[in-house]
């Protein structure tokens, strides 16, 4: 049992973080507002989860300007992708075991 759950990653233990990682696994980049709409969460909620994922090195932030408007987009890092895949695998194994 210990083996089975050792790959469950604490960093991803939130619906919002799972959602962010899911989006960034299949899209090279995604901007803040589109993430917000896709995941149906509030600004503050999303921002704090993004911050956490960024601090753990799972995602990276790209800030740029479109005209005069600032535009922040996010993408998954190599580490983020590998760890998320492991996390998914662990979830799947957990289900199979029951």
């Amino acid at each position: 049992m210990k083996d089975l759950i050792s790959n469950i990653n604490k960093v991803f233990e939130s619906r919002v973080r799972l959602g962010v990682m899911s989006v960034l696994m299949v899209n090279e980049t995604y901007d803040f507002n589109s993430l917000k709409e896709t995941l149906n969460v509030t600004d503050g909620n999303l921002a704090s989860h993004l911050k956490a994922l960024e601090e753990k090195g799972m995602i990276k932030v790209n800030k740029r300007f479109i005209g005069r408007k600032p535009n922040t987009s996010y993408s998954a890092t190599e580490t983020g992708m590998t760890e998320f895949r492991q996390h998914l695998k662990a979830l799947e194994n957990l289900i199979k075991e029951y």
Partner: protein, 211 residues
């Protein structure tokens, strides 16, 4: 520790988010049906009104005439084709926006932008190329050109929406290549490729995803 049911739900949610964030799923089958009907109407209009019941065989006849005499004929055909395109696009936008609204999704999103760009690059290239064909008198290659470039546009857009769009694109390309081998039957290939294929596709999609 999370319970079992929680993990199942998480995985389901993850799969759903991955699909919805990378594919535009608000395309409506009705768009296909309307595009097909418009294309057939456009072809019939061209046959009966612009080409005078087909008595103007648009291939040989065109080439036997000096350019200035066929000039207005060319423009009429271009306007006819452009009208078909604009009407089809407007219909499909209308149905997609309606479907997105019904499903509570946003129509304008990173995916729909990507879909549009990947669709438009081959399509606009083809459109310009076909204008060149038209004015350089390669009349028999115009319908094949329309079908092939449209097929390529669908194939390239197919990655960002239903897989069926990809296969429709392949069928359009095949239709285009066959019509290039059988000159003189352009209007019939047009009716088949843009009319019949679209209607069949649209009805199938509507039954599968919307009915």
């Amino acid at each position: 520790m999370k319970s079992d049911t929680n993990s199942v739900e998480d995985l389901k949610a993850i799969r759903k988010i991955m699909e919805e964030s990378s594919r535009f799923l608000s395309l409506s089958g009705l768009s296909g049906v309307f595009a097909g009907v418009t294309a057939i109407a456009g072809a019939l209009f061209a046959y009966f009104f612009i080409l005078d019941n087909g008595s103007i065989h648009y291939d040989e006849y065109f080439r036997s005439l000096p350019a200035e005499e066929t000039f207005s004929l060319r423009w009429q055909l271009i306007v006819d084709a452009a009208l078909v395109l604009v009407l089809s696009v407007l219909f499909s936008l209308y149905f997609s926006i309606k479907k997105a609204k019904k499903d509570g999704k946003k129509f304008w999103s990173p995916v729909s932008r990507r879909l549009l760009i990947n669709f438009l690059i081959p399509l606009v290239t083809g459109g310009i190329f076909i204008m060149v064909l038209m004015f350089q008198n390669h009349i028999q290659l115009i319908v094949p050109g329309f079908l092939i470039f449209y097929g390529l546009a669908l194939v390239s857009a197919g990655k960002f929406t239903f897989d069926e769009i990809f296969y429709l694109g392949i069928l359009e390309i095949i239709t285009g290549l066959v019509s290039a081998l059988v000159p003189g039957w352009g209007l019939l290939f047009w009716i088949f490729g843009f009319g019949i294929l679209h209607i069949i596709y649209g009805l199938a999609m509507f039954r599968k995803y919307e009915a």
